[in-house]
Each structure stands twice: as structure tokens, then as C-alpha cells.
């Protein structure tokens, strides 16, 4: 028999209370971990999903809405701008590349984005690289002869089961314009994984309003200036007009991060309270258990147990509870983060990929055991100080 075996025996002796205490630790750890993974996942997802283009030109309105919708495929689409804005930008000598984008409805929750081949071009300045997992990029087409071909993001293909050559449409009213899958992209770990890309010509023809329009609509134009020093003048120019706004995606991202920071600060306060409640629960459980067995502690002392051995038994109980709770919490926290990530993604939000291991996990486990030490210390000292001769007799 060892001191650890004695501690385990006592924990098993009050199995339900021990399990409940371990569960409270697990819940606390799971909550902290899942919130950390989700908030950091959202931040990472925004960083990873952000565009290589320096400027985004769209309709007047909320810059955040424009960025969230065009870059991250969340939120509702802003009003349209005329195609002439794209032509104007394309002809501007300050612009190296301009890519038109039109965001439409969704198929099984995956949004259509109509654009040109330039969206996928591997320009030297691009960090983002698009490559095909299978099939081909949609054929180049013209407004009078749309190809009705679609390029699927990796997540779309995985979830819908569509493969190259398959035809699909959303809603009976679109049955007239079925799309054929041309290819599937490799995962980009960004919003493009959840997007169905089609040509602008196909989109305009599928939509009954744009079909009739002489000047075709766009949601936005992604702009890469020739020189970075041209960004301010382009930004100013397109903001002066009454119909358009130019947005620098990185500055919008900064304001989103600031907001996220605020949310994180509030969550930190809540999580600190959660940790305190767990600490208190653990303390009460260990303290009352120690009070209830003062006679047994006195008996062990009479059998020759040193005060330090008794102190260690109580701490071992606390460490075991927090270690078991901590490990369960790490597993549960990761599971919660996965569920949370799926809920966010299905809600049309950003795509998160919670990492299995971060520096937080070992820290959390150490923190839980540290909390256990703190909670176990007073009961352990109480046990340590138990007077043998005063406690050998049965409790009255």
C-alpha cells in the first residue's frame, strides 16, 4: 500500500462526490479551452482568410459588411455597384489587377460567387494559392453564351458529394439553369472552401433581374494597385462619390479584432469567475471530506502516520481530482470547440479549424493542478494539524 493508494481509496469511498468534483473541474477547463480555441480560431480564420488585394470597392454603406460579405462570405450582401466601376478601375493606370465579384444566393448553404479567372491567378504578390484537387477551372465564357460551369470549394464538395460532371441547381425556379461541376479546389482553410465559383456571365443569365439589365451589376471589385503608394488616392477617390466606397480590408480587420479583443476581455472575466467557482467547489468538497474523517486521520496518526504523510494524502486526492478533471476537460473542450466551429460555419460564419494541441493545453492542465493544490491546501493543513488524542474517540 502506498500513500497514493490510500488517497485513491478515499476518493473511491466517496465516488459520486469525487466524480462530481472532477466533472466541475472538467467543465471549467472545457469552457476555458473551447472559448480560447474558438476566439483564437476566429482571429486566425480572419487572418488566414483575408485577401491579398489591398482595396475593396463596393456600394456605399458599412465597410465591415462589405468586407465580411465579399472576403469572408458572411453577413448579407451589400447593394450592388455597376459593372462600369470595374471597367473604370481596370483602365486606371494606378491599378495592376482588378477582379470583379458578384455574390449571390446559396446552394445547400454554400454561397455562389461569380468572378473571373483572375481571382485564381497566381500573381507573384499573392500569398494565397489556388490549385485543383480534381477537374478543371470553368471555361471562359461570354454574356451571350454562358458556360454554366461551377468550381467547388473543398468543403462544398465534401459536404454535397458533388463531383466533376455532376449537375445541380438550387430551387425549382433555377432548374432551367443547371450548373455543371467543372472542378474542385484543394482546401485553402478559408472562406473559399465554402464557396461555389461560377462565371459572371452565368450568374447574370441565371438571375432574372440582372438578365434584363443593360449595365450589369457587381457586388464589389478587388483591387491591387500598381504601387502601394496609390492606395490612398484610390481610396479617397472612390469614397468621394455618392455610390461607391473603397475599403482597406486590413483596417476593417483591425476594427473587427478590436471588437473581438473586447469580447475576449469580457470572456476572460467570466472565465476567471468560472475558475473561482470551481476552486470554491473543490475546496468545499475537500474541506467537508476532511472534517468528516478527522477520526480516521487521527487513527492513521496513531498507527504511525507522520503529519506530512496526512497532508500529502489530502493533496494527492486533490491532484487526482484535478488531473482527471483536467484531462477530461481538455478532451471535452476540444470537442466543444469542434461543435462550436461547426455551428459557426453552418451559421454562415467563418470557417474555424481548432488545433488539437496549443501551448494552452499543458498550461491549463498545470493550472488545474495548481488550483487543486490551492483548494487542497487548507483541508490538508487542517488534516496536518489534527490532534490525535482529541479525535480518536467516535464523533458524538
Amino acid at each position: 500500500m502506498t500513500l497514493f493508494a490510500v488517497a485513491l481509496k478515499y476518493l473511491r469511498g466517496r465516488l459520486m462526490a469525487s466524480l462530481l468534483t472532477a466533472c466541475s473541474v472538467a467543465l471549467g477547463v472545457a469552457l476555458i479551452l473551447s472559448i480560447f480555441l474558438l476566439t483564437h480560431g476566429i482571429r486566425d480564420s480572419f487572418i488566414r482568410g483575408t485577401t491579398d488585394f489591398n482595396l475593396l470597392v463596393g456600394a456605399k454603406g458599412s465597410p465591415t459588411q462589405l468586407v465580411l460579405n465579399v472576403i469572408f462570405r458572411t453577413d448579407v450582401p451589400p447593394p450592388n455597384i455597376p459593372y462600369t466601376v470595374f471597367e473604370q478601375l481596370q483602365d486606371d493606370p494606378r491599378v495592376e489587377v482588378a477582379v470583379p465579384a458578384m455574390l449571390g444566393d446559396a446552394y445547400q448553404g454554400f454561397r455562389y460567387v461569380a468572378t473571373t479567372a483572375a481571382y485564381f491567378q497566381p500573381f507573384p504578390w499573392r500569398r494565397k494559392a489556388f490549385s485543383l484537387a480534381t477537374g478543371s477551372f470553368p471555361r471562359a465564357d461570354s454574356p451571350d453564351q454562358p458556360a454554366y460551369e461551377a468550381l467547388l470549394g473543398a468543403e462544398v464538395a465534401r459536404r454535397t458529394g458533388l463531383t466533376p460532371g455532376d449537375r445541380f441547381y438550387s430551387g425549382e425556379e433555377m432548374a432551367e439553369y443547371p450548373l455543371t461541376v467543372a472542378g474542385i479546389l484543394r482546401p485553402t482553410r478559408g472562406a473559399d472552401d465554402r464557396t461555389i465559383f461560377i462565371s459572371l456571365a452565368s450568374f447574370w443569365e441565371m438571375n432574372e433581374i440582372s438578365r434584363e439589365m443593360t449595365v450589369k451589376p457587381l457586388t464589389a471589385v478587388l483591387v491591387r494597385p500598381t504601387r502601394l503608394s496609390d492606395v490612398p488616392s484610390l481610396h479617397r477617390e472612390f469614397n468621394v462619390g455618392s455610390e461607391t466606397q473603397a475599403v482597406i480590408p486590413s483596417s476593417v480587420l483591425l476594427s473587427i479584432f478590436n471588437l473581438l479583443g473586447l469580447v475576449e476581455a469580457v470572456l476572460q472575466v467570466i472565465l476567471t469567475i468560472v475558475a473561482l467557482v470551481v476552486l470554491l467547489f473543490l475546496f468545499v468538497a475537500l474541506y467537508s471530506a476532511t472534517l468528516q474523517r478527522r477520526r480516521e486521520i487521527a487513527t492513521m496518526r496513531a498507527l504511525g502516520a507522520r503529519r506530512l504523510s496526512i497532508l500529502l494524502i489530502i493533496l494527492l486526492e486533490s491532484w487526482t481530482i484535478t488531473l482527471v478533471g483536467g484531462i477530461l476537460g481538455l478532451g471535452g473542450g476540444y470537442g466543444l470547440a469542434l461543435v462550436g466551429a461547426r455551428v459557426i460555419a453552418e451559421g454562415g460564419g467563418v470557417v474555424l479549424h481548432p488545433p488539437v494541441l496549443t501551448p494552452l493545453q499543458p498550461l491549463l492542465l498545470a493550472g488545474a493542478v495548481g488550483l487543486g493544490t490551492l483548494a487542497g491546501l487548507i483541508p490538508a493543513v487542517l488534516a496536518y494539524r489534527t490532534e490525535v488524542s482529541d479525535n480518536l474517540a467516535p464523533l458524538s
Binding site: 500500500m1 496518526r301 498507527l303 504511525g304 503529519r307 490525535v388
Partner: protein, 233 residues
Amino acid sequence: MTSERQAITLQGVTKAFPLGDGRALEVLNIPALELPAGSYTVLKGPSGSGKTTLLNLMAGVATPSSGKIRLDGTDLFALLESDRDRFRAEHVGYIFQTFNLLAPFTALENVLLAMLFASKLPKREQRRRAAAMLSTLGLGGRLSHRPHQLSRGEQQRVAIARALVNDPPVILADEPCASLDPKTARAVLGEFLALCREARKTLLVVSHEELAVQGADEVLDMAAINHAVGASS
């Protein structure tokens, strides 16, 4: 008598408890007491006469207000507390009136627990010895039973096995059969005394049982050895 090796020696031992009003209640005052090694002594006295306090002092679980207690030649209270704990585990077997078995532990584990704090034997040997000790007391089939699954007589046998398993030279028993019915008490006490006598233990038993008194080398009356004056300023 003087040539005999003394297992327990008390010199001017007093024990007083503060009353809170500046006075102290002296419950024990024993100028001198010697128990020879291998002797069997019965201690008698009315309730509240200080019998349990005396046993606690001899076991080193309570501290005397003054005086010296030597056990097997060692001045108990000259030792550091942790050394005294170790010394107690190796030299004293203590049997309580209410058995004091630990509820979450089986009979075997209760006995093994005493070895945890004393024995340097390998784990397997500890287990073998504890099981053998319980078998000697007729509990070979009850090793994995927890205290609440045992009769009171069996519980006290486990307590006896726990006290003897480390083979301590001194056994202190505080009314070991007081909470047993007369028939069981006689049986348990008989086995216990036979085991201790056979192993030539120094045995001090607080008891009023006729069976306990019958074979004793000496019967001490607390009224005769305790000179405590009660409350004093």
C-alpha cells in the same frame, strides 16, 4: 525487579489541560511507573480517571505537561515528532475501544495500512504477512470485506491484527472488548491474550473483564498510581 529490562518507564509524568480561566485541570500525575518487558499488566479505574490519557501518553500521541516517558529505552518526547511517529509505528501496537477501522478499506487493507507507516518489507511480503495475521485470527475468508461487512467481533480481530502485524514489542489496548457482547468479548480477548503472551509482548490492557485480570502479571488501579489533584491555579 530492578534487574528486569523495563519496556515502559514513567518518571514524574503529569498531564494538565488549561481551563481558560488561568487555571489548569490536572488529570494525570504519576510519579513513577515501570512495566517490565514481556509483562502483562491490566489497568483498572473508573471512567474519567485518566486511563485513556495515560495510554495516549505512552503511545506518544499526546504530550505530557511534564515528566519523562521511556519506551524500550527511548525517551519518547526527546524525539522529533516525525521520528516519534516512526518510532510508534515500529514499537507500539494500539487497540482502540471502538476498533477505529478505516471505512473505505478492506480488512486486509486496514492491516496493510499499519505497515505503510512502519515496515520496510517488500510490498508482496507485507501482503503475505498481513493476510497470514488475519488468517491466524480466523479471518482468512474475510480479507476483502470492508468493516461494515464484518461483525463487531470480526472488526475487533482486524484491529488486533493491525496492532500486531508490525511485530511491535509493546501493545496498548484500551478496553478492547468493551463494545462486544460478553460471549464474543471472551472469545476475542482470549485469542488476543494468547497471541500476545506467545509472542512475549509487553502488554498493557485497560479492562474490567475478569478474563483479562485472571492471567495478568500485575493489576494497576488508577486511583493508586495517579496522584492528580484536579483543578489548580
